[in-house]
């Protein structure tokens, strides 16, 4: 087992950066990417010429060549892209951590830049099929990610008695945190139960407030070895454990064709994550859980072991997800209320919590779970201070 201990606390996030978030930003995705990456390097106190590793998403439009030559990176010896949209967010950091821990690189930058606010909705493109088995779903009018996840949500509610109030608890917790975060798109926009219950449907049983924002923006973070981290400008946030998950017989976001569609990729990533961790779900102080849709939170709470199967809805009751609750989540507002940038803001918020600099700080937070998109091949990180 000695080799398997290789990743634990071997690397740390030492820099984070972001642009403004808005429905519409004037600059290009490439420019935004450069701004976020340079901000993260500046935060770390590391020169761009020292960067020798990059990682991003397959859906990222700015490639390594463009980014590296723009920011003045050094010679790259490791670069990687992870698939499945928001499922790849944490894996970008995990790949860099693995590369650095194994000596393939020394300074890694992960990033995501996206103009999803002002750009086109991906599902409107009928010639380029999304990486789903579209022939079995799209002709019947199951067109958007919201429709695909709504199908699992309805079944989940049917099997376990989860309610719209449970989904509202998720939307409200995220909105409350966004109301504390001046950088959040929903900073000055409180949410009430009445607003939620009377909002328009997107795909029943999911309403407007069950869906994430459409945002322009970019974020990045810098990863180095734990030895190097000690010399950086900020307090290191260690990558304690990292995992990806693509379960046997999984089918992507339209996961309707296996024995147990409600046991998603989170379960696979979680098994790996906890196996390599020194602590357990009950020891997590704060979590940043991927929230393209509210329903992904109860599903993820179950997958990552915070409650039993079918208990994710009930877990949200009594303010459990709020500051001071059992498990404060998405303390920047998340994808639902801060910004939807394929979950990268969740990574940076996890770092802020463990630095003690969040706008909704959990007192003395020392451990944070960050997850990528549930319902697609996914990834997750356990961070610790």
């Amino acid at each position: 087992m000695a080799g398997l201990a290789g990743l634990k606390d071997a690397t740390a996030v030492v820099g984070i950066g972001q642009t403004a978030f808005a429905k519409q930003l004037p600059e290009s995705e490439k420019t935004l990417a450069c701004r976020a990456v340079l901000a993260a390097l500046d935060d770390a106190g590391i020169a761009p010429s020292e960067v020798d590793a990059l990682a991003s998403y397959t859906m990222e439009e700015t490639d390594e060549v463009e980014l590296a030559k723009s920011i003045g990176a050094g010679d790259l010896t490791f670069f990687s892209k992870v698939g499945y949209g928001g499922g790849g967010s944490c894996a970008t950091v995990a790949h860099l951590a693995t590369a650095i821990a194994t000596g393939q690189a020394t300074v890694g930058v992960a990033w995501r830049s996206r103009k999803r606010g002002s750009g086109p909705r991906p599902w409107k493109n009928t010639t380029v099929q999304l990486p789903t088995p579209a022939q079995w779903t799209r002709p019947f009018g199951l067109l958007r990610p919201a429709d695909e996840i709504a199908m699992l949500t309805r079944r989940y509610m049917h099997e376990y008695g989860a309610t719209r109030d449970h989904l509202f608890n998720v939307a409200l917790a995220c909105r409350n945190r966004a109301n504390q975060n001046p950088a959040a798109i929903m900073y000055e926009r409180p949410l009430t139960r009445e607003m939620y219950m009377t909002s328009r449907w997107i795909s029943e049983p999911l309403c407007l407030f069950d869906n994430c924002l459409e945002t322009d923006g970019a974020l990045a973070c810098v990863i180095v070895s734990k030895e190097r981290a000690r010399d950086c400008r900020r307090r290191p946030v260690y990558v304690h454990s990292a995992g990806q998950g693509l379960p046997a017989q999984h089918h992507g976001m339209v996961n309707y064709w296996n024995d147990d569609p409600l046991t998603g990729p989170a379960w696979t990533a979680a098994r790996h994550l906890w196996k390599h961790a020194d602590f357990a779900p009950g020891d997590v102080d704060v979590a940043q859980i991927y929230d393209a849709f509210t329903a992904l939170i109860p599903l993820s709470l179950e997958g990552y072991g915070f409650c039993g199967r079918g208990e994710g809805g009930a877990f949200t009751e009594g303010g459990a997800l709020e500051i001071g609750g059992r498990l404060p989540v998405n303390t920047s507002g998340g994808g639902l209320s801060e910004a939807y940038v394929h979950g990268f803001n969740l990574i940076n918020e996890g770092v802020k919590q463990l630095r003690g600099t969040s706008t909704a700080q959990v007192p003395d937070a020392a451990t944070c779970l960050v997850t990528a998109g549930e319902g697609v091949p996914t990834s997750a990180l356990l961070l610790r201070s």
């Binding site: 079995w136 009018g141 709504a150 089918h251």
Partner: protein, 166 residues
């Protein structure tokens, strides 16, 4: 309306559908025989590349459903809100098909009010038009007509679903 963008693995399904038959890919190795969906090159249970297309009864139950509202692609927005269902097949509940609950063969997506859709409701497959008679027929074991349709097929009519007890 979107027509299926058919791949090599899925083509036989749509060719049979064009004839009004609901067939699902199955392993053709004698000691395996597992059904699988969506279709793929080899059997995930025994790794055999031999497959056949087994005729289903066309009976099933609604496993889940959604009711999409705009913004949607224009042809779908016109019919919204409409129901989209996932049906688990009577012969093999793990085999689930996405489809629409309609009032009869070829009827529009919104021809059954969404309020009438229930998880667990028994449904029967029908084929809109161009098929040879609507119903899927009853569970013969797939030894008939093994080599696919010869009409160049691609995507014919889509399978649709009607309530067994309307």
């Amino acid at each position: 309306m979107l027509t299926p963008v058919v791949d090599d693995d899925g083509a036989p399904f749509w060719e049979y559908a064009a004839r009004g038959e609901l067939r699902i890919q199955a392993c053709a190795r004698q000691d395996c025989g597992e059904l699988r969906f969506p279709p793929r090159p080899c059997c995930p249970h025994c790794q055999s590349f031999e497959s056949e297309w087994r005729r289903m009864s066309g009976k099933g139950r609604i496993w889940s459903y959604v009711v999409p509202h705009p913004p949607l692609l224009p042809d779908y927005a016109e019919q919204a809100p409409y129901g989209v269902i996932v049906v688990e097949l009577a012969e093999a509940p793990r085999i689930r098909l996405v489809g629409n609950l309609v009032s009869g063969p070829g009827a529009p997506l919104n021809s059954v009010p969404a309020e009438r859709i229930r998880i667990g409701a028994k449904v029967q497959v029908v084929f809109g038009h161009g098929g040879q008679g609507g119903k899927g027929g009853h569970g013969r074991d797939g030894k008939d007509g093994g080599d696919g349709a010869d009409d160049g097929g691609g995507a014919g009519p889509l399978p649709q679903w009607v309530l067994e007890r309307p």
